[in-house]
Assembly symmetry: C2
Homo-oligomer: 218 residues x 2
């Protein structure tokens, strides 16, 4: 089942961009949107958009395209963004604080209920309205809250240790913002977010444009 | 040229993870690392790793693998991470502030030299040592600094307007953290970073595991 999903991952990853385009069309008052229009907005092939949309179960009408409201509902439902999910965050540094205040995640149903930090001085003062607790209380707090999702924004050196505590406390899904490939039991899902990858692409594109890199790329 | 690069983008995106694994092996004192070991650490196929490495121009030795130090140098050089590049940031909100303090980007040669915000109260107080200026001075400041790269972390509604000013001031590469597909001249590179995509994947994986989604995925 999971293997199936992995093959669909690039399609799932594109759905949030589609949703953004479709919501704009909705604001403009259109009832239908064609795959070709979405493709044009995002520099993709129309066939790609149609294949990606198919995973949400919604099918466009010939000539008219997709019904806008039904398409938004279908994508949000497929992504689970129409349900609230509680989450905790470990590591209230710069990135952690930013994610705690990131309204977009809230609009996708992610509700941050607690955060933990190794620095006892950070505990006690809520960040963006989210209470911060010392990391010692993490195990019991997560059990009490019954939370299943954790965002991991600790330094790399603390990543595996934190993940072990999270898994022990009942966390089954970790959104990993560290560089570390976590070792977790098979039943735990880890999604690794790597902001450096974006900079890698950008940097290489700049150098390709300047002809610093010529025919080296396949 | 650019079209070539786009086909190599997934390989480029994986290079930072390879670098992390190889640096750990270097710390342990190994002189060589095999593609199979890297693949094992990152749950990839060995053939995939070998193909990705080929774009950096370095080739492994049969039985021994890749020379660790040379491989690190080759990847960093390919990514341009061995050179310092100045950058500005527009939009000193939560995410913007986090990126200004993100030491990992600094270690990849990205040097933030100035930031801009629409709120005049933010101007004047440096954030993580980076001076913040009012957005009115953006055009002239970027020209004076001669900076070519900008990180865009403004609200969606301000994104296109900010991009227009950036391009007018001589910016040729935009790392776009907004949801907006920017309209820019062909010679300007835009890399869009979408944190919601990671949450989309995670959410769908959770639901696949719980069997909420069965055979719907292709």
């Amino acid at each position: 089942m999971i293997r199936q999903k992995i093959s669909a991952a690039p399609s799932v990853r594109r759905l949030p961009s589609y949703l953004h385009v479709i919501r704009q069309v909705e604001k403009e008052g259109s009832e239908y949107i064609s795959g070709t229009v979405i493709a044009g907005e995002l520099n993709l092939e129309p066939i790609q958009v149609r294949k990606d949309m198919a995973i949400t179960g919604i099918i466009g009408k010939p000539k008219k395209g997709y019904p806008v409201k039904a398409l938004i509902t279908a994508i949000e439902h497929f992504l689970g963004w129409d349900e609230v999910q509680d989450a905790v965050l470990v590591g209230v540094g710069n990135l952690g604080s930013a994610l705690m205040g990131y309204t977009e995640l809230r609009s996708h149903g992610l509700r941050m209920v607690a955060a933990f930090d190794i620095n006892p001085e950070k505990a006690g003062s809520p960040v963006h309205g989210v209470p911060v607790y010392p990391v010692d209380s993490m195990d019991s707090a997560i059990r009490d809250l019954g939370v299943k999702l954790a965002l991991l924004t600790v330094p790399n050196t603390e990543a595996q240790k934190s993940a072990d505590i999270l898994v022990g406390a009942g966390i089954t899904a970790i959104w990993n913002f560290t560089k570390v490939k976590l070792k977790v039991p098979d039943e735990v899902i880890v999604e690794k977010e790597d902001i450096s990858s974006g900079y890698a692409i950008l940097r290489v594109m700049q150098r390709v444009k300047k002809n610093d890199i010529k025919n080296e790329l396949p």
